[in-house]
């Protein structure tokens, strides 16, 4: 039964399976295992990144298309929900629904255009063009301040069930690990959890289906695929659309969680880099890589700055080192990590674990 749920895409490595189970349980019970606001924020961020990166892996890892427009679709989802809830008098599920539907529609159209256009130009051109389009969209979001709130973004409320004020139980739950207030945040968290699980399992189903296999064939050698009779145009465009749609969904979730959206929260180039980093470290073309990579990355990002602060304190006074080891320069270290991963971890963590298991199995 587990086989069918995971669409026959098993971890194929004992270590990997263990890791995945641990992470899954950790995320499933996060509000109870890690009480406290910061920890829950981190967990929610992980969930959103899992959906965002997994959808990107469909495009990059399985279809072989490099696109920098992924954050654009993420932003469209976030703004869709944000604008709808902002404009509505009473934050309602209907408004959310409307926002999601509109965002998906816009993403559909844009990804179709981009997908169809990509076939007139070469892959390198395409990558650069998506970069340009994403930049333009970012500028647009900042400038259409009437609708999007401009640089400041939009603050809005969410339906009662999801808001922090709402509590499920009278008194906070007492657990061995601490006090847990089962409020709207926790409920929102589980909404995210359920949706992200759905997205992830759907993506697993997609990449393990005949459609997914054709995508991989196209990634390996598109001439050959075309010669075999597959209209690569259609497959690439479909992959583009699916990838964009799931990114949009992730964006909607982001907005619901933060109850705020602005150009930097969803459209910034930094997020695109984060996605690239995660997919490389986790392992391209594996899906599970998105899960492992996201956890690693978000944890690192949240706690790396603290680490740097500690380290910086230790070398205070030394001229060059203190400038390098400050929390403000965490991006430098991330960049170094990124470059090193691309060199030494070409198949990512998941790839490495699977290789080890395969070698052991063959030995």
């Amino acid at each position: 039964m587990l086989n069918r749920l995971l669409s026959n895409d098993l971890p194929r490595s004992r270590w990997l399976a263990v890791l995945l189970v641990v992470l899954f349980l950790g995320l499933a019970f996060a509000p109870f295992l890690f009480p406290g606001v910061k920890a829950l924020n981190v967990a929610a961020k992980v969930l959103i990144f899992v959906a965002l990166v997994a959808s990107f892996d469909l495009l990059l890892g399985y279809t072989g298309i490099v696109s920098f427009a992924h954050t654009m679709f993420f932003g469209i989802g976030a703004y869709g929900v944000a604008i709808a809830l902002n404009a509505a008098e009473e934050p309602s599920w209907g408004a959310i629904g409307l926002g999601v539907v509109c965002a998906l529609a816009i993403s559909l159209v844009l990804s179709l255009l981009i997908g169809l256009f990509s076939l007139r130009v070469r892959a390198i051109f395409f990558a650069m063009i998506t970069l340009a389009v994403a930049s333009a969209f970012l500028t647009l979001a900042s400038q259409l301040s009437d609708i999007t709130g401009g640089e400041d973004g939009l603050n809005f409320s969410v339906p009662r069930l999801l808001s922090p004020g709402f509590t499920l139980t009278e008194e906070p739950l007492q657990t061995p690990l601490g006090e847990v207030d089962v409020n709207g945040r926790v409920i929102t968290y589980y909404l995210l959890f359920v949706v992200v699980c759905g997205v992830f399992l759907t993506l697993l189903r997609i990449v393990n289906s005949p459609f997914g296999r054709v995508l991989q064939a196209i990634r390996e050698n598109d001439f050959r695929a075309e010669a075999l009779g597959y209209r690569t145009v259609v497959y690439r465009t479909l992959s583009s659309v699916l990838s964009a749609s799931f990114a949009t969904v992730a964006g909607c979730l982001l907005a619901l969680w933060l109850r705020y959206n602005g150009p930097d929260t969803s459209l910034s180039f930094e997020i695109m880099l984060d996605i690239l980093l995660i997919v490389v470290i986790g392992g391209m073309g594996t899906m599970y890589g998105a899960l492992i990579g996201s956890v690693l990355f978000v944890l690192a990002q949240s706690y790396l700055q603290d680490l740097l602060r500690l380290a910086g304190g230790a070398v205070e006074g030394l001229p060059l080192l203190s400038a390098l080891l400050t929390p403000d320069r965490w991006l430098l270290w991330l960049g170094l990590l990124f470059v090193l991963s691309v060199y030494h971890f070409p198949s990512g963590i998941v790839g490495k674990l699977r290789e080890r298991a395969a070698r052991k199995g063959a030995a």
Binding site: L60, V66, F117, R120, V121, R122, A123, I124, F125, A127, M128, I129, L131, A132, V133, S135, A136, T139, L140, Q143, F269, L273, L276, V280, L320, A323, L324, D328, R329, L331, L332, L334, G335, L336, F338, V339, V342, Y343, P346
Partner: protein, 327 residues
């Protein structure tokens, strides 16, 4: 180009765009100001983009981190010029140039040196693997940007124009900024130098041939990887020069300026055709003009206008106006 049947159509795009803008801008003097501004900006972008397009054309290497050389050049210039206040403060063109010239040369040298390191450490290990190149060169740019912040601090630094280059010259009613004229001049000089090297020297011949068919050049007995390092370093140095000029154009420099200009130069070399110097010039001039015309006429759509321009050109010629490479 040696043939008499030279493909002049793309060249015509530049004056055509300028002419279209003339009635739209209303007055001839505004048009003149905008056009010179556009040409100046275009020339600066050309200086930056020319290296990148040759690097791609010759070695099929996508350097998404080209922006780091731009930023480095600009920041180095701030340091050099800071120490030359006497020269820049004087209202004498020659004294000003005596300050600017060393700033430019030092910026070019430093950027070129970084280019050497960049090629060795970041680019060379990933020859032939486009995806990794994109990822790694971006990583390289982030590291570079952060290191710039370490050395010069994360805030923006002003880069004021020297005295004699401030202000405008008046042609009738049209005000044309002096610095912009200088930028056009420098850009033209760089272009002329490139054309001379590419067409009159054996090295240039090798570059042009290598852009077309690298394998054949190797089969003729030339170690093209050495040539490539040279082109990469020159390209980085030119980006450094472009950075200085861009910094002076904006009168401030920020560590992120490389990433900002990156998008523009990609648009330029896509329009021009990967590997073509003349194409890069045309692309850059078009982009510069477009940015200035739309900046005046419809500021909100400025960045889009460049993308629309790029899309329009690709629909006409999917590989850019002068597709040079055989790939």
């Amino acid at each position: 180009m040696t043939s008499s049947t030279f493909d002049w159509k793309p060249l015509a795009l530049v004056p055509v765009l300028a002419l279209i803008a003339l009635p739209l801008t209303g007055s001839a003097s505004t048009w003149l100001t905008l056009t010179v501004a556009g040409l100046a900006m275009g020339m600066i972008v050309f200086i930056i983009a020319s290296g990148l397009t040759l690097v791609f054309g010759l070695m099929d290497v996508l350097n998404f981190g080209h922006g780091v050389f731009i930023a480095l050049g600009a920041f180095v210039a701030t340091s050099v010029l800071a120490g030359m206040g006497a020269y820049t403060g004087a209202d004498n063109l020659w004294l000003n140039l005596m300050a600017l010239l060393p700033a430019m040369l030092v910026a070019m040298a430093v950027a070129g040196a970084l280019g050497l390191v960049f090629e060795r450490l970041i680019v060379r290990p990933v020859y032939g693997q486009h995806l990794k190149q994109i990822l790694i060169t971006m990583g390289g740019m982030i590291i570079g940007e952060e290191l710039i912040k370490v050395v010069w601090g994360p805030e923006q630094i002003p880069l004021p124009l020297p005295e004699a280059l401030r202000g405008s010259l008046l042609f009738g009613e049209a005000a044309v900024e002096k610095y912009r004229l200088l930028a056009v001049l420098v850009g033209a000089l760089v272009f002329a130098a490139m054309v001379w090297v590419l067409n009159r020297t054996k090295v240039g011949l090798l570059v042009r041939a290598g852009v077309q068919d690298r394998e054949m050049v190797e089969s003729l007995g030339y170690r093209i990887s050495r040539l490539f390092v040279g082109v990469f370093v020159v390209g980085s140095a030119l980006a450094g020069l472009g950075g200085v000029m861009w910094g002076l154009y904006q009168q401030t420099v920020i560590p992120q300026m490389g990433a900002q200009v990156n998008v523009l130069i990609f648009i330029v070399i896509i329009i021009g055709g990967l590997g073509s110097t003349t194409g890069a010039l045309i692309g850059a001039l078009l982009v510069g003009l477009m940015a200035n015309y739309t900046g005046f006429l419809a500021p909100k759509v400025a960045l889009f206008s460049n993308i629309a321009l790029m899309v329009a050109i690709l629909l006409w010629r999917p590989r850019g106006v002068y597709p040079v490479t055989s790939r």
